[in-house]
């Protein structure tokens, strides 16, 4: 009896056939159609409209294209015209949608009643109340606390605050004070320059996580890939990247070499490298650098403190200088240990300076506006004023210090006369206020930003407000101060001034429409020359070795979470369920422990440690990883909210609680602290999606050394392997043909397209932007922590991370591999499906027909790549236990993609809706689909441009060319599955690290 017959019999005898009729086949229940009375212009049902706007999820200011269907924004993509992100977008940016449609938004103005209960009130009442409080508090301390606002809204707040005699404090949890102070001490300017990664030939990062949260991660990752990817056609191809830091972060995983010196000694390493370059006259250093030569420490001198051999330091310095395009960056949160962190940046500056790179890869002039953010010291000063009762009225917009500075801020808040929050969510700060005036979401409002000199990015409402009873804070301020007009008028006035400055002679209306269409006005700021500060000699005297004595057994580093940032991402289920690119853990925080330390303490993954610092204590499950120094522990930020909605609340621990509330000598915060560690004896299962930390030689990843990669001739296939013996050749061929003949549809000879993909591992960094893009495009359910623990997550696209090296004195590194349905030409999933739900399409896809699927799960069992995902629950059931899109989150569902039901198998379709859409468009225009017409969501988002999609049968297509690249290989090629995805081997400088 074959399987199909087996199922038939089963159905007839046990009533199991009901499963087939319960699939929802047949007409839907009676529906009502409600048309527009006046249909809006630009809106065609079934056709998407795109609006250009600006991302406000972090201070980088990336350009966005918002895809709007039937008046609802359903997807965010990068704006290709924006010089900040060049059409790419990270996970956080894409998840802005879940902030907009968040089910826990504040929907109307609320005030605290006499007994502390929340009452709704009208906007007139709310504005009147605020105006009254402003009048009362005049002269008794009015403070407006906002995030970094570089555009018109910031100007409006400044003006308003001046009028009422208060002050405006801006705050960013990661404000890069060390970077600014280091630049001031080295060059006399606290500006943050533009780092030109694309032009660099040798990159050294001293703890700067420039692919995660450092300044402008999407743009920098894009630039980095241009420099660091392997392209056989270019002789000069592939810059080398060295990562220096105590922990192998996502940025570090792309490095050719990871160096972990004694924490706090990174500055000495940079200075010694500069000394080698200067003493050996290895680079054309500016004349004023010569006097540094005597002052800089030699490698021999620093080697004992740094913990790295002098010869190694010399080698790094020589390579850096010889590349003639060195770029050293520093000032990341992961090396902001405390006092002295600015010296590391100063030392990095000196290294760039003596290598003659300042003005080339480091360009002052097109400065980044994050340097205008208030420092941590200013926030501490404010908290002190609040605690001393000097603040009578506090207004908070766009920040949540109740989470990032938990104890001190919350206590001080109690001493403030009246607290007003403009938050769109019930975050910790809003929950402790007296009046909440919910702002519009950035996607619903007018605004602008100036992320760096020369770039004026515009922000426009891309849809009507989800909750009509929310109001733009700019409008509230204008009403409170009794001014006529809306914030949009105010913005227009600012842009008229800009028009006078940059586009005189053009009609303003044209200028404005143009700016709206393109997302802003873009110009490149002129480069300014900088000289070493004369006081630099004195500074060098301050640089000491690591000073991490003090009480406590271990040094804990608090590092910024890629997905949750400072905690602002925690209320978005896409970001909660996005596996951290390094640890692969979802929905909760962890503490990273080196295997040696874990052995010493007898720890297993998931054992809960109590970490106690002088400032606070947290309970954290251990995650054991080779990617950290044995004497260091590390915890991510972002979790542990006390409020902030259903997805964020009471989840894991808040790492900020460990940190000191005092500012360090450079005005910023110390992100490291000594702790005592107690093993609690408690244990939890980590909600991880990691299978195996090592690849174990299974042919999933391939790594070549640069020398090997350069020697590859076109047409070579170094990874081709054949495990099946030659005599089985005929049988395999016959089997494949029989498979194809069985499917009555389709043309396998080559006239139909064969959709394929090429993924370049020398470009992929593992940042996981593709994962979130897939969730957004394909209506993937977020399943929650409990189901992830049971490995029932639905992410069609996952990034597998495998550690390399570690044994035989080889450096620890990591290689990532995006794993999605391989759309096999000879697919193991298809023949086992008893109902032909899994079948082969004529254009080479492994089709999955949801309405035919009966959920036997045979296909998933037979898939060697484990890329099929089963709906164990009804994730779309309104009010259901496992509901993934509670109202209004369901508004972001893509109408082009079926929402799957319980009992149905699903998997990557190569974004078949985009393929069919492009085919429809081409047919309407009487042409065939051209290469580049179709871009799946993952390829579209990828900041590294690692994913290329197209027709493998079209020999002129880019993907066909890449598929024939000698670096190409297929995962599990020995299984004869004939995947449509070709991976291009990663290339590293030095020896290829074995798995």
């Amino acid at each position: 009896m074959d399987r199909r017959r087996f199922l038939k019999v089963l159905g007839a005898t046990s009533g199991g056939a009901a499963a087939l009729s319960a699939c929802g086949i047949g007409p839907e229940p009676t529906e009502h159609l409600v048309p527009y009375v006046v249909p809006p212009e630009e809106q065609v049902p079934g056709t998407a409209t795109y609006y250009a706007t600006t991302c406000r999820e972090c201070a980088a200011g990336c350009g966005l294209h918002a895809k709007v269907r039937e008046g609802r924004v359903i997807k965010l993509e990068g704006n290709p015209e924006s010089p900040i992100n060049e059409g790419r977008l990270c996970s956080r940016g894409q998840a802005a949608l879940q902030g907009l449609y968040n089910p826990d938004r504040v929907t109307e103005p609320m005030a605290r009643g006499p007994n502390g209960e929340w009452q709704t009130l009208s906007w007139d009442d709310a504005v009147g109340r605020l105006a009254g409080k402003v009048k009362e508090a005049r002269g008794r301390g009015i403070v407006f606390l906002t995030g970094l606002e570089t555009g018109s809204f910031g100007e409006l707040v400044d003006t308003w605050v001046k009028e009422v005699g208060g002050r405006h404090v801006t705050q960013e949890a990661f404000a890069f004070e060390a970077l600014r102070e280091g630049n001031r001490r080295a060059f006399g300017t606290a500006a943050i320059p533009l780092y030109d990664f694309a032009r660099a030939r040798y990159i050294v990062s001293f703890g700067a996580d420039f692919m995660e949260t450092w300044l402008s991660p999407v743009g920098y990752q894009n630039g980095f890939t241009h420099a660091h990817s392997f392209d056989g056609d270019r002789d000069t191809s592939m810059a080398k990247f060295v990562f220096v830091g105590p922990r192998l972060s996502l940025t570090g995983m792309s490095a050719d070499e990871w160096i972990a010196p004694e924490p706090g000694s990174e500055a000495l390493l940079a200075l010694a490298m500069a000394q080698v370059i200067l003493a050996g006259r290895l680079a054309p250093a500016p004349a004023d650098a010569a006097r540094l030569e005597r002052l800089l420490p030699t490698p021999q001198h620093v080697a004992p403190s740094v913990g790295i051999a002098a010869t190694e330091i010399e080698r790094l310095a020589r390579e850096f200088a010889a590349s003639q395009g060195g770029l050293a960056v520093g000032g990341g949160v992961a090396t902001q240990y405390g006092d002295g962190a600015a010296l590391l940046v100063a030392a990095v500056n000196i290294l760039n300076y003596v290598a003659g790179q300042v003005g080339k890869t480091v360009r002052f002039g097109p400065n980044q506006s994050i340097a205008d953010a208030g420092t941590f010291r200013q926030l501490i000063d404010l908290v002190a004023d609040m605690a001393a009762g000097k603040v009578d009225l506090l207004l908070v917009h766009g920040v949540n210090p109740g989470h990032t500075l938990p104890a001190a801020f919350s206590q001080a808040l109690g001493k403030v006369g009246y607290k007003v929050s403009f938050s769109s969510y019930w975050d910790e700060t809003a929950a402790a206020s007296d009046l909440v005036l919910p702002d519009l979401h950035p996607l619903e409002q007018w605004g602008d930003a100036r992320p760096r000199v020369g770039i004026h990015a515009l922000q426009q409402p891309v849809m009507q407000p989800v909750f009509p009873n929310t109001m733009h804070t700019g409008d509230v301020l204008l009403r409170v101060s009794g001014k006529a007009g809306t914030f949009k008028d105010y913005l227009l006035d600012r842009w008229k001034e800009l028009h006078q400055r940059v586009a005189k002679g053009r009609e303003f209306a044209d200028f404005w429409t143009d700016a709206l269409q393109h997302g802003g006005v873009y110009a490149e700021g002129p480069t300014q020359a900088v000289r070493l500060d004369p006081g630099i000699a004195q500074l060098l005297g301050d640089v000491g070795g690591p000073a991490w004595g003090g009480a406590g057994e271990a040094l804990v580093i608090v590092f910024p979470s890629l997905a949750l940032h400072d905690g602002r991402g925690a209320n978005k289920p896409w970001l909660q369920e996005l596996p951290d690119p390094v640890s692969k853990i979802t929905w909760h925080a962890w503490v990273e422990v080196h295997p040696e330390t874990a052995a010493k303490w007898q720890l297993a993954n998931g054992d809960i440690l109590l970490l106690k610092s002088p400032h606070g204590a947290v309970r954290a499950p251990a995650w054991i990883t080779p990617g950290i120094r044995p004497d260091v522990l590390a915890v991510p930020t972002g979790q542990g909210h006390k409020a902030y909605g259903r997805y964020a609340r009471d989840r894991s621990f808040n790492a900020f609680e460990l940190l000191s509330g005092a500012a360090a000598d450079f005005g910023g915060r110390a992100f490291a602290v000594r702790v005592s560690v107690v093993k609690t004896g408690d244990h939890r299962r980590l909600a991880t999606v990691e299978g195996d930390a090592r690849e174990q030689g299974r042919g999933i990843i391939e790594v070549l050394s640069l020398a090997q990669a350069r020697e590859l001739k076109p047409g070579a296939h170094p990874f081709e392997e054949r495990e099946a013996p030659a005599y089985t050749e005929e049988a395999l061929k016959a089997w494949a043909e029989a498979q194809h003949q069985k499917a009555s549809l389709g043309d396998y000879a080559g006239t139909a397209p064969r959709w394929g993909m090429a993924i370049d591992l020398s470009k992929c960094t593992g940042c996981s932007a593709c994962v979130t893009a897939c969730y957004a495009e394909n209506n993937l359910a977020t399943v929650g922590e409990e189901l992830v623990v049971r490995r029932r997550q639905m992410s069609w696209m996952r990034i597998e991370r495998y550690y390399t090296g570690g044994a035989d004195g080889r450096r620890v590194g990591a290689v990532v591999n995006p794993m999605l349905c391989q759309q096999c030409g000879n697919a193991p999933c298809e023949p086992v499906c008893p109902v032909y739900a899994a079948y082969h399409t004529p254009d080479g896809l492994n089709g999955q027909v949801y309405n035919r699927c009966v959920g036997t799960r045979y296909c998933a069992n037979n898939c060697p790549y484990k890329v099929r995902y089963f709906n164990w629950h009804n994730f779309a059931e309104p009010g259901g236990e496992w509901e993934s899109w509670p109202d209004p989150l369901n508004m972001l569902l893509n109408p082009d993609v079926t929402v799957r039901e319980k009992g149905v198998m699903e998997k990557c379709t190569f974004c078949v809706q985009r393929i069919r859409g492009a085919q429809n468009r081409a047919r309407l225009e009487d042409r065939s689909v051209r290469d580049g017409d179709i871009t799946p969501a993952c390829a579209q988002a990828c900041p590294s441009e690692a994913i290329v999609f197209g027709d493998l049968h079209d020999k002129s297509s880019l993907v066909a060319r890449l598929a024939a690249d000698p670096r190409g290989y297929h995962v599990h090629t020995e299984l004869n599955t004939k995947p449509a995805i070709t991976y291009l081997a990663r290339v590293v400088h030095g020896a290829a690290g074995g798995a």
Binding site: E28, T30, G746, P842, D843, L845, T898, V912
Partner: protein, 96 residues
């Protein structure tokens, strides 16, 4: 269809006028509905069959006193037409 001079036609016209005056859209009952897992691109069918081809699936709505469904809109009915016209009938043409 809204138009004509009989009392019932006039009553329908009145509904539309009132909707315009009150700015409250009239509610229509949906007759032609496909399940959520089916995609039907109108433009491609009109491109091939011509702009007068609505009646192929919807019937001659102009002549109907009240709109009713003339075709089952079930998959077998779709496939029949695709077979007759010898066009693609791959599953992922409509189901994704």
């Amino acid at each position: 269809m809204i138009g004509g001079s009989t009392p019932s036609h006039q009553a329908e016209i009145k509904k539309v006028r009132e909707a315009w005056a009150s700015k409250q859209p009239p509610q229509w009952i949906r007759i032609h509905a496909l399940p959520g897992f089916v995609r039907f691109p109108h433009m491609r069918h009109i491109k091939v069959l011509g702009t007068e081809s609505c009646a192929t699936c919807h019937g001659d709505v102009r002549a109907m006193p009240q709109v009713h469904q003339v075709a089952t809109l079930k998959m077998g009915w779709c496939i029949n037409c695709h077979v007759q016209r010898q066009v693609d009938r791959d599953c992922t043409l409509c189901h994704y």
